[in-house]
Amino acid sequence: MSEYILEMRNITKEFPGVTALSDVTFQVKKGEIHALVGENGAGKSTLMNVLSGIHPYGSYSGDIIFKGTECRFKNIRDSEAAGIAIIHQELALSPFMTIAENIFLGNERVKNGVINWDETNREAIKLMQRVGLNEKHTAQIKNIGVGKQQLVEIAKALSKNCELLILDEPTAALNDEDSNHLLELLCTLNKEHGLTCIMISHKIHEVIKIANDITVLRDGKTIETLDNTEKVSEGRIIKGMVGRELTDRFPKHTPKIGEIGFEVKSWVAYDPLDEERAIINNVSIHVRKGEIVGLAGLMGAGRTELAMSIFGKAYGKKISGTLIKDGKEITLNNIEQAIENGIAYVTEDRKTAGLVHIQDLKKNITLANLKAITKGFVINEDEELIVGKDYRKRFNIKSSSVFQKVGNLSGGNQQKVVLSKWIFAAPDVLILDEPTRGIDVGAKYEIYKIILELADAGKCIIMISSELPEILGITDRLYIINEGRVVGEMKTSEATQEDIMSTIISSSAG
């Protein structure tokens, strides 16, 4: 019996036109937390899908040895029966069902063919205690936060008596507090119950904090497995991920700032569901040409709502205030008008609101500005092809061709397509909402370069980001937003993370 609970040997998995995994070997020791890191498209999720039977036996080559026996999973049920549970980035919970119902979804406690509610509830309460979930077991999933939903997922996995828990980006959607809680929980489960975990994460500092071993994948190959008992450095891991040392996380840049290009004055917007509650309260901000202005704040501070309410009233009710562009007042009653007036908003929600996944690269790029390639009533598809190829080359979008459907691209490349779309719309003001969320280090750098290029071209750029180092690294000036108000403004060169946090906290208290 080896020390490994899981061995994946020489796994190769091919998709039409792409080799996602080539000869990958991955070994996990019993009772450890093993982190799996790599850039987007490196093959982390594919490897886990192979392991959990989503890609069934026969669709890949290589062996999976779990607890000393070779496994040939045909589907997720097989792998669950063997004791492997996977929690995907997109949570698989049913929003209108209760916590208890969700925990036992697909694994119902049954007595004589009838659901045994007493046992369901009793067991659910026990599991909820184990994961530290402080809610009533009858609460509906839609009414609890993402952090707590993540705990429900873990309870669900535990209810299946799993021995190996796979977490795909468990903290991607969580704030710092929830993330810390989750990571502590994983450590506790690991130490006290001997649960083996595989964690996929982009957040390197979290990985270093809790993992015993770290395996790095790059371009579908295993690069190395690092022993983390002595805490390896971030730089060391990043080097493995991108194949080179990233000394600067942000491109060097000298801003060329001009006159004020866009101004928002006394902006007020109300909650669409509760028209008494102001979500944006008397916000006034301005951006100069060539300037990158950051909007810092906690999740739920109202930054996205502010951006969307400006962008043709895409969010909010009873919106009032003044928008001034190039010294002239403009009115934006819908998104069409916003685009016509040279405003672009790049959504934080790339997956569900950024792209038309079933359409190809070029059609996605031209969608927001079809007028530019239309003569009379006719769309010039030849011109569209040229535009598509042009952007694909300019932003180094990795794809088989401009005819590839964007749903098949990796996160970083999808984000480049979204950016291409808005750059093709030729805006003067770009609002970027979490432009690098869920994107790996290498692609982030490229996105930053694009943003800086746009600023140098004289565009006004507003950037929303929840990652303070990013705001500090790339913006020229920043506003701090809290509870729908501007609570501070600073020059980035004079700001520190501590300044920003203390401004937020003191404004909340007051």
Binding site: K13, F15, P16, G17, V18, A20, S45, T46, N49, H55, F311, A314, N334, I335, E336, A338, I339, Y345, T347, D349, T352, A353, G354, L355, V356, H357, I358, Q359, K363, L367, A368, L370, K371, T374, F377, V378, I379, E381, D382, E383, L385, I386, S401, F403, G407, N408, K421
Partner: protein
């Protein structure tokens, strides 16, 4: 070679449909002892199925917006033919005016449904279910159970052909009549049909050549010469065989001109205009489309208004072919149209599908209907077969999608 492969991969579903159509035609051609492809039958097939084609074109747009369907079109066909028939016979206004009246009726019905769907957000399924009941009811109230006989322009549209410009000049030079062992062998071809087919196909070839040349001249990318030549030659042959066939019977049906024009116009809208592109985008991801400046409400409104208008055209055509307005006309027409779209490759979730596919799907439905009738298959069994074909077509789609999906 690679580029041809890539092109085929990108269009596999469409070629698959044409292949399926050919197989079905061959099957029924043999099963009916050749009767299916008799010129008289082909000409009848066109007239009989024009309504499905017209409805399928409109329905394709509804489905593209996000897998939405219109259940009311069968009832609307009946209502339009009743309204128009009533004007022409009981009130006694000229046929052309009564036809326009019918089209306006359909458009108003479409605007009505479009309003509820787009601006009140009543789901299309519910709105059109209500429409199906309402329109059928109004139709029955108007006609009061009676059938109104129609004449004049209606009959010309429904059954007429373009007059022969030079009768008895072009002989059946390929001797197809002998080959098919027809009882009433045509000695001469209908010159109008034959010439129209020939001229159109030559225009098509010239247009393709010039278009390609000008694209190269302007530095745009073009498909490989080989694939273009194959495509042009096969189109040329297909158009001419088809026109030869109809020329052996009574020539160019008015209905075919109507359908061809609608096909051309709506294909243009779907593929070459901004509204067309916006409909595809919203079907693919409505949120992303909205945030990219697509006015999804307006699109929904236009699509359902247009469906009303096309249902009215189908209503006039049907009334003309039956030479009457009757209370029960149009039953299950919506199902034929929806079925055609799905057989023709529309995605049940929206965003995928072509007008061309809808037309091929409608032909598959039509040939099956016609072939099974000639064989004398039990009507109920016919229904079973059609149902299974729709199911299997979509199942094939899902299967091929799951095969080609990237991780």
């Amino acid at each position: 070679m690679n580029s041809i492969k890539e092109f085929m991969n990108r269009n596999i579903r469409q070629y698959g449909m044409i292949f399926a159509l050919i197989v079905i035609v061959m099957f029924f051609g043999i099963a009916t002892g050749g009767k299916l492809i008799w010129p008289r039958n082909v000409s009848m097939l066109v007239r009989q199925n024009a309504y499905v084609l017209i409805l399928a074109i409109g329905m394709m747009f509804c489905i593209l917006t996000g897998g939405n369907i219109d259940l009311s079109v069968g009832s609307l066909v009946a209502l339009v033919s009743a309204m128009s028939g009533l004007m022409a016979t009981t009130i006694g206004i000229p046929s052309w005016l009564a036809i326009i009246f019918g089209l306006v009726t359909g458009l108003l019905a479409g605007l009505w449904q479009g309003f509820w769907i787009a601006y009140v957000k009543v789901p299309p399924f519910i709105t059109t279910l209500a429409g199906m009941l309402v329109f059928r009811g109004v139709n029955n109230i108007i006609l009061n159970g009676q059938t109104l006989p129609l004449s004049g322009l209606y009959v010309v549209i429904g059954t007429g052909s373009v007059p022969d410009i030079a009768p008895n000049t072009i002989p059946d030079f390929l001797r197809i009549g002998d080959l098919l062992q027809l009882q009433n062998k045509p000695e001469f071809l209908n010159a109008t049909m034959f010439i129209v087919g020939l001229v159109l196909s030559i225009i098509y070839v010239l247009f393709t050549i010039f278009n390609r040349k000008s694209k190269i001249a302007r530095g745009y990318e073009v498909a490989s010469l080989k694939s273009v030549v194959i495509k042009v030659i096969s189109f040329f042959i297909v158009i001419n065989i088809f026109s030869y066939w109809l020329a052996m019977d009574d020539g160019l049906p008015i209905m075919l001109i109507l359908v061809a024009i609608l096909f051309a116009v709506y294909t243009f809208i779907a593929t070459k205009t901004i509204p067309g592109r916006h409909i595809y985008a919203m079907g693919g991801n409505i949120k992303a489309a909205e945030l990219s400046g697509v006015n999804t409400k307006k699109m929904m409104f236009l699509v359902y208004s247009n469906m009303g208008l096309l249902a009215a055209v189908a209503g006039i055509v049907t009334a003309g072919r039956l030479m009457a307005s009757s209370p029960n006309v149009g039953a299950n027409f919506e199902m034929d149209a929806i079925g055609s779209c799905f057989i023709g490759g529309a995605s049940a979730y929206g965003g995928v599908g072509t007008i061309w596919g809808a037309v091929v799907g409608a032909f598959i439905m039509g040939v099956m209907n016609n072939g099974m009738s000639i064989i004398g298959l039990n009507v109920f069994l016919q229904s079973v077969v059609k149902g299974m074909v729709v199911l299997l077509a979509v199942a094939f789609d899902m299967y091929s999608k799951s095969k080609s999906r990237l991780g």
